[in-house]
Symmetry: C2
Subunit: 441 residues, 2 copies
Amino acid sequence: MPAPSALRVALLGCGVVGTQVARLLIEQADDLASRVGARLDLVGIAVRDITAPRDAIIDPALLTEDARALVERADIVIEVIGGIEPARTLLLHAIASGASVVTANKALLAEDGPTLYRAADEAGVDVYYEAAVAGAIPIVRPIRESLTGDRIQRVLGIVNGTTNYVLDQMTTHGLAFDEAVAQAQELGYAEADPTADVEGFDAAAKAAILASLAFHTRVTISDVQREGITKITADDVAWAKQTGHVIKLLAICEATEAGVSARVHPALVPLDHPLAGVRGAFNAVFIEAEAAGELMFYGRGAGGAPTASAVLGDVVSVARHRVLGGKGPAESHYAGLPIAAPATSRTRYQMRLAVSDRPGVLAQVAQVVSATGVSIEAVRQVALPDQDSRATSVGSDGSTVALLVITTHHAAESALAQTVAAIADLDAVQDVMSVLRVEGS
Amino acid sequence: MPAPSALRVALLGCGVVGTQVARLLIEQADDLASRVGARLDLVGIAVRDITAPRDAIIDPALLTEDARALVERADIVIEVIGGIEPARTLLLHAIASGASVVTANKALLAEDGPTLYRAADEAGVDVYYEAAVAGAIPIVRPIRESLTGDRIQRVLGIVNGTTNYVLDQMTTHGLAFDEAVAQAQELGYAEADPTADVEGFDAAAKAAILASLAFHTRVTISDVQREGITKITADDVAWAKQTGHVIKLLAICEATEAGVSARVHPALVPLDHPLAGVRGAFNAVFIEAEAAGELMFYGRGAGGAPTASAVLGDVVSVARHRVLGGKGPAESHYAGLPIAAPATSRTRYQMRLAVSDRPGVLAQVAQVVSATGVSIEAVRQVALPDQDSRATSVGSDGSTVALLVITTHHAAESALAQTVAAIADLDAVQDVMSVLRVEGS
């Protein structure tokens, strides 16, 4: 079979990303053709309402409301509509019709990616999805291809720009959580309803995709432990700084003895860790691999043009495979590791306690912690900053209040829960002010 | 033609990297086979002396001193011997014999890469070289594939771990250049003769490869402007910090109006730039692209295991292409932009001058700078730190010495040379203590 001189490209969705994808396909047509070895002809754009206003770059003759018919006459289908349905049905239909698929749909992949990958492998076509995780940052391809001869041990990602912006503003300008969210909304970094971001749902979807990819294991969003940033206070952020850390919302994927663990939660990251320097709405994914060592990938996690750039890179790859008459490495090759139970995940913790300022309290707390089998790395009694209202407060027993910062060695989530309960029970402990995980050290 | 069930892999070189590559090929054989769709059979390892001692993983029966015969019976040739010859002749022979090539040889690619790429395109085989730039960091593949639908504007790279370690030690511990080099040598980060690193030759080779790749233009090492770090003093480093910068040796590739510019020199990088946080012997490549925006790739730039990881990723890709019966996107697709003359390269500068501490000197210097057409962003008279010997010194005209730090707007290299000469001529100027470029702001 001779290589085709042109490939038919269908675009599903024509919002911000779709418009930028169409623009790049049109403006860079010659470059793309010479890279691929065949022209990429945009044969149609499926939209919900063909009468809605569009960017001038969009030829109205390309628009159709019949997405199903469009995918049947395409070699490559680009999906940027998002959400589970009708995206899933359309992509499965595209694959069954013999088209390769490029998608930016994190929700769908986190929910049901394996179904798509298996269908594509059976049909001998590609499913590529660089834009679904960390926007413009090439992260899927490096994991899938560059590190394919290596073993990934851990992935730590800042994969949600909204929460990183919020935490960065709290860190840099001392804002309260609500103030930082309001500012992010004003600047368009956060939605009017920021729940999906600040509660960690968006990051959890990306964690599921990253864990599946890194460990060749089916991890869906329901396997991901999730905790958002809504409880993080200005005080937490200030104390993080004082102990040489910055608070980040991390997506953490690990291969542990108990299986694959994927979780999303705020964590203390040491200031000298590369992730600590990821500012504003940027994203970054930090990888620890057996041979490669530490790697980090940094860039814009969202936005029309950055996402379109990632989509186009994928389009060129799958197009090139079609010109060759094949597909890239199999996607549904699964090692099928078990998913670790949440309680087994092990990390270091930092607890901040308000305690009665009297002799023996430090030793008493340390003893309770040790008794629950959690090993202490350091206990420090810290001077209260002048602006802290507790600095002059008086505890319930009449003594003044002091602050203890306890850092543990690695401990299981379950053991820690017991420890915190035991500490809270102590008479001398006025308040467990915060319990935060420490990652990246 | 049915897909092959096995591919014959030849390894040229069996030093630190070669041994690790052999190890991964053997230990991960099953994984690799399922990713590629065919087994990768290591059919031979070419070495200079088959009697030399080897790691136990190396089967002595695989060793041969006849590299030329070996490449003739391979589908994939992995070259990790380095240097121009015999590597070039062997790789061209491998390509002519129909083999795909994976190489970690930066010297050869910087000298004569286009010859290899053209030969490979004509023969319909791949040349992959992820390990040649920034070791384990996937950077070639993202530029070549992920960003293929985008336009790269600038690449800033910390691509030499030795010099980054040296500068980092000077920054963190206030060491002098010679002390930091000695320490790097003790730790094995620097060679006994550190010239290739500290004079920027190694970084210049990588700059040539990166510029060729990013701008689809033939850039060889002789096109790269080069300045090492041997003139950087502890004073320069301390002053950089005082003005909110850190000194890094950067490889800079830009598409300018005058053409493609590739250069290597120490530069002041603002502390809030992602490259400023790249510590120790780590490498990082920062990319500015039209659609993707800012991207950074970070990781280990050298070492046996990291380099082998990058090599293996390439091997899987070229193997997969062979299973499909083709090759990846063409490499020798050249836009053929002109190479910009060195004098046209434009950047910001920071000059540090020791001047006579008397009225009117600041204005006098500012006037001389403006007269040469260089626009000043800021002139600051800075307090001398107590430990600076100049703080109590007396100038040649009997007045005490003050320090001026001048930062310019973007100016051409040629204009700046005139400016510095004019400043040095002024009576009030005791010394032009340093002139450093500012990048990444």
